[in-house]
Symmetry: C2
Subunit: 89 residues, 2 copies
Amino acid sequence: MASKLKERKRTPVSHKVIEKRRRDRINRCLNELGKTVPMALAKQSSGKLEKAEILEMTVQYLRALHSADFPRGREKDTHKKIFMTMLRK
Amino acid sequence: MASKLKERKRTPVSHKVIEKRRRDRINRCLNELGKTVPMALAKQSSGKLEKAEILEMTVQYLRALHSADFPRGREKDTHKKIFMTMLRK
């Protein structure tokens, strides 16, 4: 009985802690994206951006980077190189 | 009095709708990032990724793209070009 009570007491706390860590990870990334994506960085001077806005700008930026006018062969090589480096980490 | 009641009735519904739209925008972007970021795309074959994971991989990927071994001048030109195109939209 005592151990059951102890368990019941601990569960909400650890759930709260896990949930906070999850939100912190997400918010850290959104902060970083806000500083990395040029459009988001520029718009932040006129007020804080919503999460959805930062993400939409990130998607737009990646699309633009992928379709940018790199010499085709070079673009493929670079993406492959980056991907292989990340897989090795 | 009647109009106040009407207002009170409507508010939670429209809040729910607005909140749903916001979540939908975020989820659409996360889906798109999951398909665009190579590391996320590769990992999804072994199960659904958490939001935080997709975002961390996106940050990692953008960092890698930014520090990739492009000829310096060309990289700057391309980013500037993309940024200017996005601003014009």
